[in-house]
């Protein structure tokens, strides 16, 4: 039966090529945009680089302090002192890493300006994040403790400085200070905000130790646990520590900070009230659902419109089928299969187009080292979206068609 439906559908598509084209165009356009958005989001939530195990850690990267009456608020990045006092003593996390945010520095190699980014980290950083080493290895806990001037480079930077030679063991001068290169790692996509950098240095090599006294600064912390289920306990522990043990700094008596996973961080960034410990993930998911629904509305209405106006074309066919005893439900089923088939064709085209668009973003170098790999995850979500779209746009016309009065339909008229 299904085979018959598909055959009929194919014949119908070919009969009026212009209408098939208009429908296909709409489906393609909508799905391409949705697939691109899905792949970008998937890349963000399930990175393929060093942050690939991001279900095992949380990140603390913001700090908000207010006075008692909430009339004065300071929204800052945490300094080393804040992390050392309130994050490091937490008991649930197995590994805690402290590292700085990115710092851009320009240098000139043979008169050419080269900008690179520096991140300063501790040794735990290399244990939590899963870097791929091309050469050598990361600096050890001992080197970090002693404040040894050592550096890890990414592949591109190593090649810029030393060409094809092995960089390990050579020295590099950063801000008038010599560093020995101990490791070279594969380039990290710019989208992995906590892992990305061109050069990594131990922060014990900073010229002064004044950073140890600062509540506000440029530091972040990563809290790791081998069991993802424990992450919630880490969040609770951190929240209660801030609520109970925060010691006022000047007039600022309350501190708000969060250990978030990528989804929570994104939700907080968009919807979050900075002065609260709430979780905004569900708000984000609802908002995404509403936006994608609104987004599909226009092409859906367009398709519904077109399909309804074409009912007449199929009137005689419907009449004959009904006269021979086809039920309304059977007809509905047939028309939905038709619509799903067309949407699937559109979906395949959309996958091709989206690959083309994303490949050109990757090639353009707009976002350094980024890659949007295609995986099962994306495929399933895209397929799901395709089906939702075909149902949204196909069910109403299918019912309308199937309900045609057989007598009228056979006569070929519709009033």
């Amino acid at each position: 039966m299904l085979k018959n439906y598909l055959l009929t559908a194919w014949k119908v598509f070919l009969r009026r090529k212009l209408f098939t084209f208009i429908n296909l165009f709409g489906i393609c356009l909508t799905l391409t945009i949705i697939v691109v958005a899905t792949r970008v989001a998937d890349n963000h939530l399930h990175p393929k680089g060093p942050e690939k195990n991001n279900s095992h850690y949380l990140v603390v990267s913001h700090l908000v302090m207010t006075n008692k009456s909430h009339t004065r608020t300071q929204s800052i990045y945490p300094g080393f002192k804040f992390i050392n006092d309130y994050v490091s003593p937490l008991k649930v996390p197995e590994i805690i890493s402290i590292y700085t945010k990115l710092n851009k520095i320009s240098t000139y190699i043979q008169g050419k300006k080269i900008e690179y980014t520096i991140r300063r980290t501790d040794a735990n950083y290399w244990r939590i994040l899963d870097f791929e080493y091309v050469d050598g290895e990361a600096y050890s806990q001992e080197q970090f403790n002693l404040g040894k001037a050592v550096a890890v480079l990414n592949q591109t930077t190593a090649e810029q400085y030393f060409g094809q030679e092995s960089a390990v063991g050579k020295t590099i001068i950063i801000q008038k200070k010599k560093y020995e290169i101990v490791g070279v790692v594969q380039n990290v996509p710019r989208t992995e905000i906590d892992a990305f950098s061109d050069i990594w240095l131990p922060f014990t090599t900073l010229p002064s130790t004044s950073y140890r006294q600062q509540v506000s600064g440029v530091f972040s912390a990563m809290l790791h646990h081998s069991n993802p289920k424990q992450l919630e306990n880490i969040q609770q522990e951190f929240t209660s520590r801030l609520q109970q043990d925060f010691v006022a700094i000047d007039e600022y008596t309350q501190a708000f900070s969060h250990a978030d996973n990528p989804l929570q961080a994104m939700a907080r960034d968009i919807f979050g009230d900075s002065k609260s410990f709430e979780n905004y993930t569900s708000t984000l998911i609802i908002a995404i659902c509403i936006i994608s629904f609104l987004f599909m509305l226009l092409p859906s209405i367009n398709m519904v419109n077109l399909n309804i106006s074409r009912i007449l074309e199929r009137a005689s066919e419907i009449g004959v089928r009904k006269a021979y005893g086809a039920t309304t439900l059977q007809l509905v089923w047939q028309f939905i299969v038709e619509n799903v088939l067309l949407t699937l064709i559109g979906g395949v085209l959309a996958l091709l187009f989206s690959s083309f668009i994303l490949a050109s973003i990757e090639m353009s170098g707009l976002i350094p080292y980024v890659e949007f790999p295609f995986n099962l995850n994306v495929f399933v979500i895209s397929l799901l979206m395709t089906l939702v779209f075909s149902l949204v746009s196909g069910v109403y016309p299918a019912f309308k068609m199937a309900k045609l009065d057989p007598v009228l339909a056979l006569k070929g008229g519709l009033k």
Binding site: N103, Q175, L206, P207, Y211, L298, N305, S309, G413
Partner: protein, 394 residues
């Protein structure tokens, strides 16, 4: 005639209802794109108030990264002197919040019974002249204002227009009486404008304070270069800076480079949204065209009767087009009812009535034009239906 058309449309209200909905949504898409384009164009064509060529920004940071620490003003002084001695550099200034960046300070408080809010900045003497600001009233602050018991400020024209109703404001005190610092802040001059964040940012009242060594910590050094200085001067400049202060980090960026990226930041997303919108509109146009074509075919008997009763080809053509125009207008009406909530509610303060109507009108015209284009060909087909053939259906 019009009544007749409405009657026909009402008869087919279900099918037309869907078209109305489609037009309304498409209209809202076009409206928002227009709104953004017109807003940005209006802002772009207003004068910037300062010059950006041959001016570079040097951001100074302590190596540990945080800028809010350890650099003392006394340490910055020798660096500025060194810079001034360079042949390529005409002048060196301090500026609290740099240009063409999302880095600004705002302030709001009560002044003489009304709430004022403005963007503010701190500059040293002569900086305003060297940045190319234009004085319209009073004078710039300078050495003569020091030690007289007041703090001299200069404000932009919008500040005067908004908070002093355009009256002479020279000599007025604008300090916040409720703050602990009760020093008089006297307006000594009025300048045209200083749109610090660039062309695509809203016009705002602006106040510039005079730099004081013991009061302000400034991390942005702005240099005015002599005409014809090449970009390659960056390298020796960086060399000089790191030699004088090896414990600091510097970032050098020409103002025009920042301006470019600031413009792109607004322009690229807008371009991207416009491309998607254009595709959607194309889709809607194709859809309307297809629906209308089908409608004309299915209404052959009706058209046949009209032709048989003496309607001209032109009359039929006009009927098809007018019908779609009316349906489109209904869609526009719904779109208008929805979008008019924006200026009424004041949800986004930037959307005022002028901006609203200047986006509303072209968007509506565009949709009507689109309707005419979509109806033209199907209308033509309708005129080709021969009365006999058309009547044959019955």
């Amino acid at each position: 005639m019009l009544r007749q058309l409405f009657k026909i449309i009402w008869k087919r209200k279900k099918a037309n209802g869907l078209i109305v909905a489609e037009v309304a949504i498409a209209f809202i898409v076009v409206f928002f794109i227009m709104l953004l384009v017109i807003r940005n164009y209006n802002l772009y064509t207003k004068p910037l108030g300062f010059e950006y060529e041959n001016r570079w920004n040097i951001l100074v940071k302590a190596v540990s990264g945080s800028w809010a620490e350890t650099i003392k003003e006394s340490e910055l002084e020798p660096l500025l002197l060194q810079l001034k001695q360079q042949d390529e550099i005409e002048n060196v200034h301090r500026l609290k919040n740099p240009t063409f960046q999302d880095w600004s300070s705002t302030s709001d408080y009560e002044l003489k019974g009304r709430n004022i809010d403005f963007m503010l900045n701190v500059m040293d003497d002569h900086a305003a002249q060297d940045f190319g600001l234009e004085l319209t009233e009073g004078k710039w602050f300078g050495k003569l204002d020091k030690g007289l018991g007041y703090e001299p400020v200069i404000v932009n024209q919008l500040f005067i227009e908004r908070y002093f109703n355009g009256e002479n404001a020279i000599g007025q005190n604008i300090s916040d009486i409720k703050s602990e610092n009760k020093i008089e802040q006297r307006i000594v001059g009025v300048f045209k404008d200083f749109r610090q964040k660039g062309e695509l940012n809203q016009l705002t009242p602006y106040v510039i304070y005079q730099y004081k060594k013991d009061k302000h910590a400034i991390r942005n050094i702005e240099i005015k270069l002599k005409d014809g200085t090449q970009r390659s001067f960056e390298e020796p400049l960086m060399e000089l800076l790191t030699n004088v202060a090896p414990n600091w980090e510097f970032t050098i960026t020409p103002w025009d480079v920042r301006r470019e990226s600031m413009l792109n930041e607004t322009f690229l997303p807008l371009l991207f949204a416009s491309i998607i919108a254009a595709f959607f509109i194309l889709l809607v146009a194709l859809g309307l065209f297809g629906v209308l074509w089908q409608n004309v075919m299915s209404r052959a008997p009706e058209i046949g009767v009209r032709r048989a009763l003496g309607a001209t080809a032109r009359g039929i053509h006009n009927q098809v087009i007018s019908e779609l125009m009316i349906v489109t207008s209904l869609g526009l009406l719904i779109g208008l009812v929805l979008t008019i909530q924006l200026p009424i509610s004041g949800f986004i303060p930037e959307i005022n009535w002028t901006l609203f109507w200047s986006a509303q009108l072209p968007a509506s015209l565009f949709m009507l034009l689109l309707a005419v284009i979509c109806a033209y060909y199907p209308g033509k087909i309708a005129t080709k239906l021969l009365p006999a053939e058309a009547l044959h259906y019955e």
